[in-house]
C-alpha cells in the first residue's frame, strides 16, 4: 500500500474527530473525539516515519501517546470535579468563562 493511503485515512479520521467536537455536547464525548484527533496525528507520524525509513517518527508517536494520557487524566479529573459540584455535564451550560 502506498503511504498516500495512510495519510488520506489519517486526515479522514482527523476530520471525523473535528466533526464530533463540533456536534457533541457531553464533555466526555468531546474528550473521546480529542483522542480520535491525536490518534489520527499518530497515524500520520508513523506513516511518514515509514516513508522516510527512519524510526524517529515512531518516537514522536510514543511521546504523543504520553501527552494523550496526561490530557485524559486531567480531563477526566475535571469531569469528576464538575459532577461532584452537581453542575450539568454539558459544555453549553458551562459557559461562565465566556467573554
Amino acid at each position: 500500500m502506498n503511504i498516500t493511503w495512510y495519510i488520506v485515512l489519517s486526515s479522514l479520521l482527523f476530520a471525523t474527530g473535528v466533526l464530533g467536537i463540533l456536534l457533541r455536547r457531553s464533555p466526555m464525548v468531546i474528550l473521546l473525539c480529542l483522542e480520535l484527533m491525536l490518534n489520527a496525528g499518530n497515524l500520520a507520524l508513523v506513516a511518514f516515519s515509514r516513508m522516510v525509513g527512519n524510526e524517529q517518527g515512531q518516537v514522536f508517536a510514543v511521546i504523543v501517546m504520553v501527552i494523550a494520557a496526561c490530557e485524559v487524566v486531567v480531563g477526566l479529573g475535571l469531569i469528576v470535579a464538575i459532577f461532584r459540584r452537581r453542575l450539568p455535564l454539558n459544555v453549553d451550560d458551562l459557559r461562565e468563562l465566556r467573554g
Binding site: L13, Q56, I63, I67
Partner: protein, 171 residues
C-alpha cells in the same frame, strides 16, 4: 494480502471513529473507540512499527480506556439537550469537517512528495522494534523522554487535586 489487511483495518478505524460520534450513550462511544484503537494498532503493524502498535494496545486500549469506562460508570450517561446556542450548528459542522478533509487532502496530495507514492524504502529487520525505539529514547531523545515523565507526574498530581473531596465541603 497487505491490501486486504489495510482495508479491513481502515474500515474498522473509520467505523469506530464514526461510532464514537454517533452513539447516544457515552459507554458505547468508549467501546467504539476501543475498536478504533485496535484497528489503528493493526495499521501500525502494517507500517512495521511493532513497538508503537504494542504500546497502543497495552497503554491506550488497555489502561486509558479502563479509566474512561470507570468515569462513565461513575458519572453516568445522560442525554444531551437539543438546545442549540449557535443556529444551524448541526448543518454547519459537517460542512466544516468535509471542508477540512478536502483541504488536508489537497495539502497532502499537492505536496509533490515523490516518496508518498511508494511503500517506503526497504527496512532492515528490527525496524521499529522495542530495542530500536528504546535506544532512540535513551540516547537521542533523552530530554523529551525525561520531560514527558515529569509531565506524567504533574498530570497525576493535578488529577488528584482536581478530583479529591474538599474538606470544607464535607464539614
Amino acid at each position: 494480502m497487505e491490501a486486504v489487511v489495510f482495508f479491513v483495518a481502515a474500515i474498522g478505524a473509520l467505523g469506530g471513529a464514526i461510532g464514537v460520534i454517533a452513539m447516544r450513550n457515552p459507554f458505547y462511544s468508549v467501546l467504539a473507540l476501543i475498536i478504533h484503537l485496535f484497528s489503528l494498532a493493526a495499521l501500525f503493524l502494517l507500517l512495521t512499527s511493532a513497538f508503537v502498535a504494542a504500546a497502543q494496545v497495552v497503554v491506550y486500549a488497555g489502561a486509558v480506556m479502563v479509566l474512561y469506562v470507570f468515569v462513565v460508570a461513575y458519572v453516568g450517561g445522560g442525554g444531551e439537550s437539543a438546545w442549540e446556542p449557535i443556529p444551524g450548528q448541526r448543518f454547519l459542522a459537517p460542512l466544516l469537517a468535509v471542508a477540512l478533509f478536502v483541504e488536508l487532502s489537497i495539502a497532502v496530495l499537492g505536496s509533490a512528495l515523490k516518496a508518498l507514492e511508494t511503500h517506503g524504502p526497504d527496512t532492515p529487520t528490527g525496524f521499529g522494534d522495542p530495542a530500536a525505539i528504546g535506544r532512540l529514547l535513551l540516547e537521542k531523545f533523552l530530554l523529551p523522554f525525561e520531560a514527558s515523565s515529569i509531565l506524567l507526574l504533574l498530570a497525576a498530581v493535578g488529577a488528584i487535586v482536581l478530583a479529591a473531596r474538599r474538606r470544607e465541603a464535607n464539614a
